[in-house]
Amino acid sequence: MATAQTNPHYRYLLRLADNALVLGHRLTEWSSRAPTLEEDIALSNIALDLIGQARALYRRAIALGGDGDEDHLAYLRDAHEFLNVQLVERPNGDFAATMARQLCYSAFAVQLWGELARSNDSELAGIAAKAEKECVYHLRHSSEWVIRLGDGTRESRERMQRAIDDIWMFTGEMFEVDESDRAMIAAGISVDASKLLLAWNETINDVLAQATIKRPADGWMISGGRQGTHTEHLGHMLAQMQFLRRAYPGATW
């Protein structure tokens, strides 16, 4: 049986899937309470894309010999078994914080999926080719908001700057490469995430400049999510996300 501990391929797929699922779930928390109806629809659409990506990745992981099904992976793992970067579990905060988080992730995801579309894992390559197209839309959406809010009123600018400042130390983890990753890079299944930083910086610098937002200094970066260490926020999120499945095992609707 493949597990995240014994199989680096499975572990890599879970890392990708958990990023998409956790961020997707966070965005669903805006459903019915986004600032405008159009935004409500937009954030729900983006969430749908991300959760769809997660489902495809979980299915691929299970096909490698993993246990259970996609629901098991989403609903019955505890926080320490999730391998997402801490960036995506950050609470929504205000709309600026959500857009800052979305911009940082989407700018990374577009690069990552673009590279993974050439993965030796042909299933993963197929998922990546589709995800890249979707994430281009997500990136444009969040970029436009960061620019509009940054280059907006005094209040919106202050909030956008604060959001970028607050999220910054969570961005470094996306570009980490550990022992497990190196095995996957060598096998041509994964890509060297550290090499995506250059293109990510280009996108982010361009958007922040247009938004008249000051780019924070690259200081100490948070780490650990990809090894299962999370902020307390993930536990709270999972409590809500997993409640039904845990309270009523095997429930269908």
């Binding site: 159009e38 935004e39 629809i41 937009a42 659409n45 983006i46 969430a47 749908l48 894309d49 991300l50 959760i51 769809g52 990506q53 489902r55 495809a56 042909s122 299933e123 390559a125 197929g126 998922i127 080719a129 589709k130 995800a131 197209k133 979707e134 281009v136 839309y137 990136l139 444009r140 959406h141 970029s143 436009e144 996108t203 361009d206």
Partner: protein
């Protein structure tokens, strides 16, 4: 030899009938388009007494995919095909370029602006010129990149003032 030829002919017949049935299956969100029009139906095969159907999602999270799979199974079952296997294929990734020319016309006739042809990677802030499906004017404005379904954006026409949907290009 004769037996093999007969079985080949029979298989071709079964395949033709299965294809005919699948021609009637439509997209639940765009009921005037068939899954062939949409490019969602990728392959149909006959293996023994089973019909194998390959479909591809338009968007990763498109909820219509589950409904389409059920509709395919139901339509084939009604035509006497009891053993249907549906595979989801992700590669190559679906693109709006697979929408047939009649499909584009049907979209326009139903008030949805058809997608522009995909032109490789677009610049981050490149604006697409979208013609109003009602009056044909190019004087249109994007309201939101995300519309009522994953595959559509929300626009308005500045000439005839009608809001409309644009089938996004991916």
């Amino acid at each position: 030899m004769a037996a093999a030829a007969t079985s080949d002919a029979k298989r071709a017949d079964v395949l033709a009938r299965a294809h005919a049935v699948l021609e009637s299956v439509t997209d639940p969100e765009l009921p005037f388009l068939t899954i062939t029009d949409m490019g969602i139906l990728r392959d149909v095969r006959v293996a023994g007494d089973a019909v194998e159907v390959a479909i591809t999602p338009t968007y990763s999270g498109c909820p219509a995919m589950d409904v389409i799979a059920i509709d395919i199974t139901t339509a084939l079952a009604k035509a006497g095909f009891d053993n249907v296997r549906i595979h989801r294929v992700l590669s190559p990734a679906w693109t709006t370029d697979w929408l047939s020319a009649p499909a584009r016309e049907k979209l326009r006739a139903n008030g949805i602006a058809p997608p522009e042809r995909a032109q490789g990677k677009r610049a981050l802030f490149a604006e697409t010129e979208v013609a109003c499906p009602t009056c044909g004017s190019n004087s249109t404005q994007r309201v939101s990149e995300f519309g009522s379904t994953a595959c559509k954006a929300h626009y308005r026409c500045l000439a005839c003032r009608e809001p409309f949907q644009y089938f996004k290009c991916i």
